[in-house]
Symmetry: C2
Subunit: 499 residues, 2 copies
Amino acid sequence: MAKLDYKPYTSTEIGNPEIQRVAPKVHVSTGNDKVVDSIEDVVKATVKDGMTISFHHHFRNGDYVFNKVMRVIIDAGIKNLTLAPSSLTGVMNDMVIEAIKAGTITNITSSGMRGSLGDFVSHGGLKNPVIFRSHGNRARAIEHGDIKIDVAFLGVPNADKLGNANGMAGKAVFGSLGYALMDAQYADNVVLLTDNLVDYPNTPASIKQTQVDYVVQVDEVGDPDKIGSGATRFTKDPKELKIAGMVNDVITHSPYFKDGFSFQTGSGGAALAVTRYLREAMIANKITASFALGGITKPTTDLLKEGLVRRVMDVQDFDKGAADSMQSNPNQQEIDASWYADPDNKGAMVDQLDVAILSALEIDTKFNVNVMTGSDGVIRGAVGGHQDAATSKLTIISAPLVRGRIATIVPDVTTVVTPGDSIDVVVTEVGIAINPKRKDLIACLSNIPGVPVFTIEDLQKLAEKKVGTPKPLEFTDRTVAMVEYRDGSIIDEIKEVKD
Amino acid sequence: MAKLDYKPYTSTEIGNPEIQRVAPKVHVSTGNDKVVDSIEDVVKATVKDGMTISFHHHFRNGDYVFNKVMRVIIDAGIKNLTLAPSSLTGVMNDMVIEAIKAGTITNITSSGMRGSLGDFVSHGGLKNPVIFRSHGNRARAIEHGDIKIDVAFLGVPNADKLGNANGMAGKAVFGSLGYALMDAQYADNVVLLTDNLVDYPNTPASIKQTQVDYVVQVDEVGDPDKIGSGATRFTKDPKELKIAGMVNDVITHSPYFKDGFSFQTGSGGAALAVTRYLREAMIANKITASFALGGITKPTTDLLKEGLVRRVMDVQDFDKGAADSMQSNPNQQEIDASWYADPDNKGAMVDQLDVAILSALEIDTKFNVNVMTGSDGVIRGAVGGHQDAATSKLTIISAPLVRGRIATIVPDVTTVVTPGDSIDVVVTEVGIAINPKRKDLIACLSNIPGVPVFTIEDLQKLAEKKVGTPKPLEFTDRTVAMVEYRDGSIIDEIKEVKD
């Protein structure tokens, strides 16, 4: 699976290459025999040793599909597969580890991994290095043929007998099918799994009958309560609220805060608080946004409903409120991962983005960001849309100076995921740091009441003062994962943790 | 342009081949410099001698885009182009003839042609044979690479600066962009022309920014009054009403007229009358349809509104009422030509169709249908979706026995477009003929009050009795056009008319 001609990362600039896209094979039929009730039969008909298989992660920790399918694949004795999901969530960890141990999975490319699987890989559990890719880079890799999906197993909360499906109706709704749309369009074999076979023809058809080979009826595709869990609480933490307030100040004092601006806030407590503050600032200044982008939460779709945002461009929904809104509000447009963020495109949404608020596990004095490895060197994160949204005109990293006894601002990040070149402002609870190359921002953000400006080196020293200097991490020489930049170059490697 | 390995038509059965699809080249950019106000600049940047260029015909006779663009291409002195539009309408004829005479266009593939252009080609005006393809076959040919579009010029009634566009809002609305969606997805260069540049981002985006290279601002893209003209009058002709009544009787006495059935009625006076009668029958029998398909008219969208049809699957709209309905009714799903009818697919809509009502210029005693050449042998028609929809379970040809002094039912059609194998019932004002291979239909349609049943030979003799035997047409040996069956095989050739 791994490319042999990896190039090191050099620049955030993509330039104007000419790209020959790839296309799938089509097994022609009239479509009348797609419905089956046995995962075993479909696996037997489609999956062979050495293939690349894929899944989406729109069900997040409510996912039942991955484990159902992998159980069958392991039991069938299939070996040497490349696993290429849009991402891996915690609920899949045990099954992935079992599949690796059984020799069923020998290669992985994903947006990220956490928990026991991250630990397993960081300790050398998988022979071949994992390839981590951003959502936009996965789209790019699929459209180039770097990832050639043989069989995609896609869970959906509704589908008709020919495979017309969406994520908006049924028991286990998740809204946008954004990441899965890539698999549906480019995989040679597309298998839908659903617990809700509806009348033909099913519309709106996010996935179309022209893309689907099999529709497997299963009892349940997901746990509705766990699909949107975790991400969308509104914070009451004073530190998070302080950071959110300063993020809002940075936005509103920047030249981008004007009628028709656009933003991506993401999920997490601080992000939701930013959205709330931003709402107040927009009302006070009579400013409306042209679009909100990204992973979408209810606070953002509320802005749409209120007329403060003209369009929501939606590649995934983080909660049921956002998912429900996609069904009812025609101004919430479902977009695929390519439209969202493929850098090798005729213009992706992220290329039009004014303001992005992103999180970080670590930021270093070169403004490089790590969202992948913990302070112990262990894999516990995901590239997600981080590298992609960081191409925005004003990219803000929102993070506390320290977390417990661990510094967030460090001399060198453990793993470079998003290059400092694409980061403009770091916001912590004590104040902000502006990337020196953004002289224009230094001018307009340096005199905001209540927003002290530091150099990034000063912030790093403040953090160090609080928590001291940690013992350097120890790794072996062995590479357990490679992190691609969104253009497919290698921006960093992750080494095996030495215990 | 022409393939060298043409196979003769053998069967309506497509079977289960495995097809490798093709994909376009992408010229990567952030999308910020797409808007230009000069067709000259775009033509200079994109069109070179020997290329294949395309247009859509959704504006029908209200189209301004084709002539604007072709004027520039001719004046630029570009030669040897293949013209591959979804179809050609009368308003384009003079310009096509001029382009042929100038050596600008040397090959054409189209759904059809009429008027002066049909006359010109039939009299040998174009050196290379025209290739006529159905809408589904054009989609197939594009997806296979038989048609490789270098530059697509697509007129739209709205677009934003990056090329997100639909056919539903603006001055020159036409509704579904169904045919043009193929060009947008597969052409190496996609040029939109619009008279209505709207705020970014524009949704719903039938054509997406990820597909578009240039957006050209022009004063007018089309004449709203001529987009929907002609096709949608409701007939008062007693003969047409009689035929429509019998078509309705055939449908309602067939085994397909049951809850959840599906139909395509097309346009034209008789078709609209059928839709009206069908409505009454559906109400009387408490039957609703699962979907109506095809080129859509207001009487069909009225059925949707009334709840008699559950979904309208819409590849083009024949009138403003149908176009407006697509904007307001979420159950009217825009479908591309591949989803509509590509035979090399994982199931197209036509594969699910119960009842299709189609027209004919001629039908012969083998049930073969000609919708391409007139009784004088001159090209004056279009394959359209005829071959495609004829795959339905009950395909009805609705046609008068004679037109003026010309028989419609003939011993041999001048040009075989749709093979008799896919035709089930012919309905004329004197009665019906059932394809003998459909013994099941003979049983259920033979005793309908007021619907006399004839053999097709009897109908042919009745027609001959009315109008006599025409002098045989005289052609030269030269082939001026080839008619493909929907699978890409050659079903017939059209010879040069001898004057």
